[in-house]
Point group: C2
Chain length 455, copies 2
Amino acid sequence: MSYVPPASRPRVVIIGCGFGGLEAAKALRGAAVDVTLVDKTNHHLFQPLLYQVATAGLSAPAIAAPIRHLFRQQGNVRTLLGEVTTIDALSRRVLLRDGTALPWDHLIVAAGATHSYFGRDDWATYAPGLKTLDDAFEIRRRILLAFEAAENEPDDTRRDAWLTFVVVGGGPTGVEMAGTLAEIARHTLPGEFRRIDPASARIILLEGGPRVLQAMPETLSRRAREQLERLGVQVRLNARVTAIDSGGLTVESASSPHGADLTRYQIHSKCMVWAAGVAASPLGLQLAAATGCETDRAGRVRVQPDLSLAGHPGVSVIGDLAAAMSHAPGREPTPVPGVSPGAKQMGRAVAANLLRRLAGQPTRPFRYRDYGNLATIGRNSAVVDLASPMGPVRFSGYFAWLFWLFAHVYFLIGFRNRLVVLMDWAWAYWSFARYARVVTGGARGSAPTPSEPAA
Amino acid sequence: MSYVPPASRPRVVIIGCGFGGLEAAKALRGAAVDVTLVDKTNHHLFQPLLYQVATAGLSAPAIAAPIRHLFRQQGNVRTLLGEVTTIDALSRRVLLRDGTALPWDHLIVAAGATHSYFGRDDWATYAPGLKTLDDAFEIRRRILLAFEAAENEPDDTRRDAWLTFVVVGGGPTGVEMAGTLAEIARHTLPGEFRRIDPASARIILLEGGPRVLQAMPETLSRRAREQLERLGVQVRLNARVTAIDSGGLTVESASSPHGADLTRYQIHSKCMVWAAGVAASPLGLQLAAATGCETDRAGRVRVQPDLSLAGHPGVSVIGDLAAAMSHAPGREPTPVPGVSPGAKQMGRAVAANLLRRLAGQPTRPFRYRDYGNLATIGRNSAVVDLASPMGPVRFSGYFAWLFWLFAHVYFLIGFRNRLVVLMDWAWAYWSFARYARVVTGGARGSAPTPSEPAA
């Protein structure tokens, strides 16, 4: 069942409405093309704040915008809810799970990334990652239920396991999760329990490399670590996870990346969050096989300087799915980091190149403008690393946190969402409350619940 | 594993933190008792606005308050997340699913009600009810996905089924759901789809009796029906459901309650909501068996005038689980309706009677103060029936709607929640938007999804 558009304008199919797909579709406003934007959810997700939903600080609708609503006034875009199973480069069609076929003249693949467990996908049940709203709800459930289970648990050892929280991965997501968990334990929940003291919970952040926030300068990594430790997070560097089960993890660690003093130990925990590895969507491998293109070790598709595929000028790949390089004149190409601004810029660039192709003009290589990096650790605490014409601007602490706060609100979609998030944060700041402390739903897979005997 | 409180003050166990359990616990503030408040969720739910979550108008946290947070400053209350499986009247213990036993000297059972499918529990999969947040999320998913599926569906008959929404039950919940569904179809979604016209959706409200809102005066029932029909809802009275499956329902209907002109017909629908029957929590039957007390046909436990059980002065039942009578001096006892004010007043009354018992004083019979009834149909449209010293005050239309709006916001728990809901409604009023249009999660049971071939 194909949808044949009324006129024979070039048909553009965009797979995925994350930052990349959204910007590409927006940039085609008014162009003489027919765009079909397909996503397997009905919403565009503001992922940088997903950890706030996971830690009960924001409600899901505050960071999710219905795609159909966003494009209601862009007449050349139709939005579809569907899951792409196959990209057919020969007959130039995209196949959806329900059997629908979407023919294309130009294809923009922006399907994003998912978690990588370094080959151990069985770990996903015990240590969920944080990529979708469903992930956030599951993590939120486990966090809130862990404290409930601890309150009910008479056995000391088991109670300690319920009050031990482990975050694996010291990038921005891991740092933000660990810092926020510490806030919940130390500031939000104390006083609400009768048998346990939530402030006694252990929050452990495991990072396999020598520092947290490795994409940022060393001084800021160090500040972030200090701030985490001041919040009571145990930061363990050069620590790699070798096993995970329902009772906890096994960690191998050394005092330095290649240290000979390797130790192995167990952490008993009932609530573990995975923020350690990113792998490209499986569509990447399928697309590479279909087009004869290469992927890197994480499954990201190698693209030409103009973000198209070698030998397939009608197909472009952007965002976390692409292994893309930034080409600035007179300099060596540098890899584009897997961050939101990168995806957004690639989205706009690929739309511009598509229009150039249609006009018979040469395409331009993609150039990434790195405006800087931010990560927050908790209340009053963030690190900011900005590029400026005068050189890098780096600061941390309270003003960095204010900057982080306003930057994130600014980029939210929709005035109402900005107001809601600002309001939630203002209230939470003054009261330490977290306003989305709702536990719903049943256990996923074999996730432990308080009603099961502790394993 | 029992929890033994440090002193030997009377131990009160309250099962359920709906309106009844919440008010009972609050009314025991400062009393020389040790209260254990147990609920199978972690939140107190403002049920009158649950239909707003189900229709993507409000986020869940706006109407859910964490129980632990509510009682953090009431020292004689400890809150527990747990599911009660058995009430043991002999040894005076409540047993939870995880094996915990809670001993009590006084027991207040406020476990509430659930859906009744009149013996056909298999209908629940096809036509979910609306009692919990999980119910609301599931209904919201089905509503949003129905429009998505219709957009993708090339077959006319199947598309019509996706665009036919049926609400079973003409009480306040059913009327509110039907009116809101019509608003979504006629006002929120038009313009966002390319192949379907959401405004062409059929919204059908089925009521087995001769009028909607049977608890309200006839004039207001008639106004409500007029307002529904003006919104484009097809209201079918004297229409009873005799079969439901994944493709729709079978309805038997007559022109009057006992009319001989009985007809039977099918409605093909992929999105059906059940708001037709309420049954008491199964704990009611278990409690009745354990104490030798009677239940009514809906499973509600018959209580004494002071809300305790005959022969068991230490056990009281309140809220939707109780078949309670209101005793006003000099008048015949009247049944207490299953509405929120009823549950709240019973909660306060049972706490007061408990304290009287502890002080050796006689208990008092419960007297329900009926302040009136409200139901909203949609924008600018509600019916209000108030009791006043000057007699009943009845009005409908725009001012009734304003009254309804402010009354509901007033009774929400928490200043922030009131602000959020007011703000959401203010925005939505001006823009017809619905701000919680998030589809997450997978299909429950055998619920149809757009990716399955239409049955």
